[in-house]
Every structure is written in C-alpha cells, then in structure tokens.
C-alpha cells in the first residue's frame, strides 16, 4: 500500500468512485424531484408570484429566523440548532464533496476566514450530532403525545423519524471523522496542521485516533469520506419520500405562503366571477383539484403535530386533526404519482382518504395555521373540499335546512325578513335609544350591521341593544338596514356554498350602498370579517370593540366602577376578531379601563385562543365529538381563576353560555359580551338615557350579582 506523501491527495485513489457516486446521487435526486413535481403541473392555478418583498420578508422571518419555532420551547430550540447547523454545514458538505473530485475551496472560504469557518462548522457538526441524540431519545423515551398517530389516521412515523435522525448523526460523525483523520495525518507528517475547534466532535475524535499510523489514518479518512458521501446522497434521495422533504421544500412553501389572513381563496383563481357558471366542477373532489401551492404544502408538512395539538376539533375528539389532512394527502400523492411507474387515475378524496365528518368538523378558527412553522394552509383546503361536497349534494341533513332557509329567507333560522328589526321594538329599549332603519330616504353616517343571530336570537338581541346604546351614547349618527339586511354569508362561504354566499353578498352590498352610510360597525366578528375581507365596494368596517377602545382612549367613554370588585374577569378572543384580524388589544384595553375590574389571562389567549365551538352554520352541524369545545374552554377559564368570561362575539356567547351549563358551572361562572358589559358600566351622557329596566335586567346575565 502506497501512502501518498501529500495528504491533500489522499482522496485521489477513490476519485473515480467518488465522482460516480456524486453523479448518480445528483441524478437520482433530480429525477425524484422531477417526479414529485409532476402533480404540481396538473394542479389548479394559484397566482403567488406577486408581492416579492412581502414574500422575502416571510422567508426572512419564518424560514431563516425560524419565527414560529420557539412557541414550542424545547423542540423549537432543538430545531433552530439543527437548522442553523445545516445552513452552516451546507457549504462545508459541498466543499468536502467537491474535493472528492479535485482540490476545492469555496470562494471566500480560504485563508483566515476559512479557518474561522472551519472552527464554526466543527462546532456546528458537534451540535447537530448532539441534537440528533437528544431528538432520538425524545422520540423513543419521552414520546411527546403530539407525535402519536391514532390508528384511524394511519401508521406512526416514529421508525422513519428515528432512521432519518440516525442518518444525520452518521453524516455528522463521518464529517467529523474525515476532519479528525485529516488533521491527525497532518500532525504526523508535520505539515502545517490547522487546529480543530476545542472540544468539538472532530477535536475529540482527533485526540482518540492521533496515535494511529499514517496508513490506518488514510483508510479511516477514505472510509469517513465514503460514508459521508453515501450518507449524504442517500439522505438527499430519501428525503423526498417522507417528512424530511421539508428540508428542500420549506423555503418555497414559506415564500409562496398565503399573505392575506381572513380571506378565502376563490373557487378558481383563473376564472373570473362572471364565468363561474361555466366551471364544470366546484371545489376539490380529486387530488388534482388542489392548487399547486396546496400540493407543495403536503410535501412540506414535517408532521410536527403542532397544528393538531392546537386544533379545538381534535381536542374535542372530533374526527379531525389538521396534520393528517396533510400526511394523508402526501401518502396519496406518493402512491398515485410513484417515482417509478406511471401516475394512476385520480379517485375521489372524500370516502377514501378523507371522511365527510372530518371535513365538516373544522370551525375555521385558524389555530393550526397560526401554529404551523411552515405556514401551511388548512382553511382554504377545507373550504375547497366542502365546495366539492356541496357541488355533489353531499351535505349533512342538519345543514340542509339552514342553507335552504338562507336561500329563501336570508337567515339560517327561516325567520321572516320583516322580523329582522324586532329587537328594537321593546318598549324599554326605545326609552333609552332610538334606531333608524336606513333606506334611500333615511340616511345615517354609520351603519350598524347586526347580522342574523344578533337580530333574531332572543338572548343575542341584548348584544344588539347594548351596541346600539353605546353608539347612541357616543353621539354616533347610526342606523340599521332592518328587513333589507340578509345574513353576511360568512359561514355560508366557509361551508363551501359559494353561489349562495354570492347571492347574499350581492344583496347586502346593494342595500349597504343604498343606505348611504360612510362606515360600518358590527358586534359580530364573523360579519366583521366578511365585510372586511369577503365584500367589495362597501364602506370601511369596524368591530364595536375597536370603536369603544378609541372612544375610551379619547375619554369620550368613561365607566362606573364594577359593583363586585371580587369577581375575576377573563377575555376570550373570538377567532375572527383575534387570529383572523389581530384585534387583541382593543377589547383588553376597554376592560382594563373599567375601574376595579380584575382581569386574568387564560393560558390559551390571543393568537393561541381556543375556539368556543364555531359560529354560523356550525351551530347547526351535529358533530361526532367526545365533548364540546366550549366545555373545554370554560374549564380553561375556571383554571385561570376567572368567574366571568367576557367575549365579543354572539356565537361565542351561545357556545360559552351553553358550555357553562354543560360543565355544571352555572351560578359559579357567567358570560357577558364586551358590548353588554360596556353598556352596563358606561357613564351615560344624558341622565334621560340612564339605565332603564333593560339594563337592570342584566344581573340575571351575571348570576351572583
């Protein structure tokens, strides 16, 4: 055996082999990726090539800075370390692979800076190696609950995860052995040996093998190189077959992420509204009905389980966990678009990989999307799948009645249009407030958009009256549409009945425009979101909590101190006010402005708020569940030590009040809407509008008062 005297030429004998492994590796990877891209070219269009700077900003924040990761402290930090290590090592891996072919140093990575870089990467390899050990131990010993896969969703991915973690550890070890044996060789030959980073893995290895002969070191060096190369290319080509594909795809998923919260994608991006009638099929029925970005999401899902861990439907035992929407679709695409062989015919997704109940179980609360480190979208996919089911007539009976009533009467309850403004008719209310019904003859600057539940539901009418009194008290010139107002259609759209939504929207848009109002106020976050994101050509809209907060700041609203200072209040963020529209602070500021009001935060608040059970049509849907989301929510309030839950949404009120009863907390806990509380505590501008019977009735809303 001839040992080259020039240690930098150690790799020469294997060069042909090394080069062929590289060519084969890169070729295989290119082939596999090309195959993975095939379905994306058969997918629906999705215009995401705009708003470059906004998208780069997302990449900077969510990819490079790993913004979402620390929300799960331990796993997040572990991931950040691995990610940073990978980024640092990527260049070294490239350089190491290249020297297999010939002498190579990346431009800028030679000399002093190159040495510094070597030191950093020595440590990076060490950190990644240790992280792999921690991750494997975590997977095998501690088994975090969110990685579990219930039998109905498929097989656990633990073996795959551990295998991949192990491979990365091998890669790191090989990399370190390569550096250590090379450095040890240099020392033996008295060449100008670069110092390995103190206490790094290569440094430790060097001290272990330093006494070996040059020949042994040579074999070790060659072996380390070969193992590194094989592991590297095996990983590269294996990743597109499982959860590790996100290493390659995450950058693109984040760059092309959805930018507008609160919106719902159109039926077809490439079909103008007026041509919708010519579209043969609505929504997603087969895999190819997804957009290419949604398919990319399926590839990117790292199966970390954070979405499911935060999903209220999953927590309540409904048959839905967002991660499996992704992983089941990924399994589907791997099976139907195999790397070898031809793509098979597309089959309906509902009834095969997804169940009807699974898709109807979602309240579109957005907790999953808020949590996903890769910004994977779920709501648009769920809505698209629902559109497909609606188009096929595949709708639960419990939803058919309210949908039919929305079509014929403009509200899900089937109530007569002429009863829409009945809430203003109570004699006591009329003593305290007058409400105009706007039309082309009667005008007002502000339109109070009441929406169905607040207009028709006996309990929620109290929210409407409180809102009206607040608007009156701050001297707002306002009115309502009355019988001309139909349901905002917010849930109609999110339940997939796009054409019905459009009919409702067009009707309301015309009525709003005819009213001449310059701005809109609503007490219903669902109506707020619809008017803000789903409607076009209507005046700007505000939620009543934003109006109150502004008036409080301007000192135009002041409050009487609470009568029972021992009561503890907590604020429940409605999904469509909080997560979808980022109105977190206004309601809290209002509460904190009430003298003597003691407020605590629930563990899950603000962007981690837990959905109460959903609004609109979700109130009619009969889910298969173990318990109500609302019950889980009021228990969280109890855990926080609160006895009054303040919310700012009529649907939250329905769910929370019901849940208080179901949880057996009646008498100990109560719920009140922010508008009702403000109405109750507000200092009246005129003595004449002082609390009438209506408000004195409020104590029954707050048992114990």
């Amino acid at each position: 055996m001839v040992v080259s005297s020039q240690i930098t030429d150690w790799l020469v004998p294997g060069r042909t082999l090394f080069l062929s492994i590289q060519l084969i590796g890169i070729g295989c990877f290119a082939f596999i990726v090309a195959k993975r891209l095939v379905p994306l070219f058969r997918a629906q269009s999705d215009p995401r090539f705009d708003r470059l700077w906004e998208r780069l900003g997302k990449v900077w924040k969510f990819w490079l800075a790993q913004w979402k990761h620390p929300r799960y402290r331990f796993a997040g930090i572990l991931h950040i370390l691995i990610f940073a290590g990978f980024l640092l090592l990527a260049q070294r891996a490239f350089a190491v692979l290249m020297i297999g072919a010939e002498h190579f140093a990346l431009p800028g990575l030679s000399g002093e800076f190159g040495h510094l870089y070597d030191v950093v990467t020595d440590y990076a390899a060490t950190v990644v190696f240790l992280c792999m050990i921690v991750a494997v131990v975590r997977r095998l010993v501690f088994k975090p609950a969110r990685y579990a896969v219930p039998a109905k969703y498929g097989k656990a991915h633990t073996a795959d995860a551990v295998f991949l973690l192990g491979l990365i550890a091998v890669l790191m070890a090989a990399d370190s052995f390569f550096a250590a044996s090379k450095a040890a060789g240099h020392v033996l030959q008295d060449q100008s040996a670069e110092e390995l980073a103190f206490l790094s893995l290569p440094w430790i290895l060097q001290s272990l093998i330093g006494s070996m002969s040059l020949a042994t070191l040579w074999v070790l060096n060659l072996t380390a190189y070969l193992v590194h190369e094989l592991a590297f290319y095996f990983l590269l080509c294996y990743r597109p077959f499982g959860i590790q594909f996100h290493v390659e795809t995450s950058l693109f998923s984040i760059y092309f992420a959805k930018l507008d919260k609160g919106t719902v994608k159109p039926v077809r991006w490439d079909v103008a509204d007026e041509h919708l009638d010519q579209v043969k099929s609505f929504g997603v029925k087969t895999f190819e009905d997804f957009t290419w970005k949604h398919m990319l999401d399926f590839y990117s899902c790292a199966d970390c389980g954070r979405c499911a861990d935060n999903c209220p439907a999953n927590a309540a035992g409904r048959p839905l966990a967002p991660r499996f929407i992704s992983t089941k679709a990924r399994d589907y695409v791997f099976q139907h678009y195999p790397v070898t062989g031809t793509a098979s015919n597309s089959t309906p997704l509902i009834g095969t990989i997804y169940s009807e109940d699974e898709i109807w179980s979602c309240t579109t609360c957005g907790a999953c999307e808020e949590e996903c480190p890769l910004l994977i979208e779920y709501i648009d996919k769920i809505v698209d799948l629902r559109r497909g089911m609606i188009d096929d007539g595949n709708v639960p009976q419990s939803l058919q009645k309210p949908l039919k009533a929305l079509e014929s009467r403009g509200n899900p309850y089937g109530k007569m249009e002429k009863r829409k403004a009945d809430w203003v008719k109570s004699a006591e209310f009329q003593k305290t407030c007058s409400v105009k019904v706007l039309d082309r003859k009667t005008e007002a600057g502000t339109l109070f958009f009441v929406d169905s539940i607040t207009s028709y539901d006996d309990r929620m009418q109290s929210i409407a009256r409180s809102t009206a009194r607040i608007l009156g008290n701050i001297g707002e010139d306002f009115g309502i549409l009355g019988p001309a107002e139909k349901d905002s259609g917010h849930e109609v759209r999110r339940f997939g009945e796009e054409m019905l939504f459009r009919a409702l929207r067009d009707h309301n848009t015309e009525a709003i425009q005819a009213s001449g109002a310059k701005r809109i106020v609503t007490a219903d976050p669902h109506a707020y979101n619809a008017l803000k994101h789903d409607y076009k050509d209507v005046p700007p809209v505000e939620h009543i909590s934003q109006v109150i907060a502004r008036e409080v700041k301007a000192e135009r609203i002041s409050f009487h101190p609470v009568e029972q200072p021992d009561r503890v209040y907590t604020y429940h963020d409605p999904c469509y006010l909080g997560r979808h529209n980022q109105v977190y602070d206004d309601p809290r500021e209002v509460l904190d402005a009430i003298p003597g009001l003691k407020r605590v935060e629930m563990k899950r608040s603000r962007d981690r708020s837990f959905c109460c059970g959903g609004g609109g049509l979700m109130l009619f849907y009969e889910p298969k569940e173990e318990q109500r989301m609302g019950v889980l929510r009021v228990k969280m309030a109890a855990e926080a030590g609160a006895d009054v839950i303040v919310t700012a949404c009529p649907f939250c009120m329905v769910n929370v009040e019901d849940a208080i009863k179901v949880a057996g907390l009646e008498g100990r806990m109560s719920a009140i809407d922010l508008a009702e509380l403000v109405d109750q505590q507000m200092v009246r501008v005129q003595a004449a509008t002082a609390p009438a019977n209506e408000i004195q009735r409020a104590p029954e809303l707050v048992p114990g008062r």
């Binding site: 009638d277 609505f282 609606i390 188009d391 096929d392 007539g393 595949n394 709708v395 009976q397 939803l399 058919q400 009645k401 949908l403 039919k404 009533a405 079509e407 014929s408 009467r409 089937g414 109530k415 007569m416 002429k418 006996d458 009945e497 796009e498 054409m499 019905l500 009919a503």
Partner: protein, 262 residues
C-alpha cells in the same frame, strides 16, 4: 326502470309564520316562502338512487301553476332526468280525486314501472297516492321506508304503528307512498339550480291529457273545505309563559310527573 315521482309545492312550515287570512277560510299567503313538500323530496331521492342502481329515468311531475316550476327545477338540479308541469285553469279548485285524475291521465300517456309519491303533503290529506293507484288499477303500498328491486318485483319495507316493520313483495308497475327518513336527500345548491335554469319544462294542459272537465276542478270536487282555524287551547292544555330556562324546567317536571320519564 322508468320512475315517475309526483311532487308538490307547499308553504314551508319552518320558514313561515302561518296566520289565518281575514276571511278565515285560508292562511295568509302574502310573504310566504314555498318549497317542495318534504316527503316528496325523499321520494325523488329514492327514485334517483334506484335509477343509479338499476338504470332508467326519473321524471318528476306536479299539478299546479307557473310558480310550481320552482320545485321542478330544484328536482332537476337534484338529478331528475325530466320534469313536467300539469297546468290548466280547469284544474283549479280540484280536490284530491281531481288531482289523481289528472295524474292518472298523465301516467297513461307514458310507460312508468314505478310511481312514487310522498306519504302526504304538509297541507294535504295523504289521499292522491292511493287514489291514483286505484284509478290505474295498480298495487299500492303506503308509508314505505325501504325499497329493493328484485327482478320484476320490489321488496318494500313499511312502518307499522309501534315501531315495527314489515317487508312486502309488490308487483310492478305499482304506486308507493314514501315516508321521510327512507334516505338522506342530497343537497341542491344555488349553482345546481342555475345550471338547470334553461332546461325546458313541458307543460301539459287539459287537452294534452284528454281530461274530462266534468271530473276535475272545483265543480267536480266532492270534498270541500268549509272552515280553517287554529284550534283554541282546550282543557288540559297549558301554555308555559316563563323564560326559556323556566319553561324547560317546567316541561321536565311535567313529563316526569306524568310518567313520561322512566
């Protein structure tokens, strides 16, 4: 299999406040919304499912006026192959027998293996199905809640008072009245209705069907409504007038004391 479903448009009781008119002989019909009579919708769904299993065509027919086209469009959107409107001024004021007479003439113009009706109309008397069968001299089964096609015959399940069921074999052609709950009717959305908006719906009048005017219309009606009212609360009826919670508690208490809870 050629299937005919006889359907009717009725005021939707869940979406209307039914009030007496000033004359006290009918309900106030301004501001009502209508829909297909619910059991008829189940009948159409059943017909579609049978067609999808064994092949054939589904035709939906109604006796009425232009306004009734609304429900025919809905059933076309659901998947019916064709829809027919029987409309003639001479039919106005017909009783159940008059309607059955018109339907009988229509049936005899075609070839139907199976005729379905809803078990009854929300505002009707559950009579047309039986009469139609008698006039055609077809066998009849009422309150049907399952149908299996078995060669040239059908096996139909019927609901028996007390919750029992029986299965009958019945020869084709026949008339069946369909009970709600036999299936889960599919949803018809706005899009579906828009897509069939231009499908022609043939209208058959008196002369098309060769109807004897003496057998139809108000003059021929042997059953006439003479009064219409909301019954006064009788003895033993108690109207609860408390809050929702109080009412719920009271109902529970009443049911428990009367032995309704075991």
């Amino acid at each position: 299999m050629e299937i005919l479903v006889c359907a009717r448009r009725v005021p939707d009781t869940s979406e209307n406040e039914i009030e007496l008119n000033a004359a006290g002989n009918d309900i106030e019909r301004d501001d009502l919304v209508y829909s297909i009579n619910e059991p008829d919708n189940y009948a159409v769904e059943e017909a579609l499912q049978i067609r999808d299993r064994v092949g054939g065509n589904v035709t939906v027919v109604t006796v009425g006026g232009e306004d009734d086209e609304e429900i025919l469009r809905r059933e076309l959107a659901m998947g019916a192959n064709q829809a027919v409107l029987i409309s003639d001024e001479a039919l106005n004021g017909s009783d159940g027998r008059g309607i059955a007479t018109a339907l009988k003439s229509f049936v005899q113009k075609g070839h139907y293996d199976l005729i379905l009706t809803g078990v009854q109309a929300d505002d009707g008397g559950a009579q047309v199905g039986g009469m139609l069968a008698a006039m055609l001299d077809y066998p009849f089964a009422s309150l049907v809640n399952s149908i299996t096609v078995d060669g040239g015959k059908l096996k139909v399940g019927r609901e028996i008072e007390g919750g029992n069921r029986e299965i009958n074999e019945i020869d084709l052609p026949c008339v069946l009245s369909i009970q709600t709950g036999i299936n889960e009717p599919r949803y018809v959305g706005m899009r579906g209705i828009r897509q069939v908006a231009s499908v022609p719906i043939p209208t058959y009048g008196n002369s098309d069907l060769g109807l004897d005017t003496a057998a139809i219309g108000e003059a021929a009606a042997k059953v006439k409504r003479v009064d219409y009212f909301i019954p006064a609360a009788g003895k033993g009826a108690e109207i609860l007038r408390g809050s929702r919670e109080e009412n719920a508690d009271r109902v529970l208490e009443l049911v428990a004391t009367k032995g309704g809870l075991k």
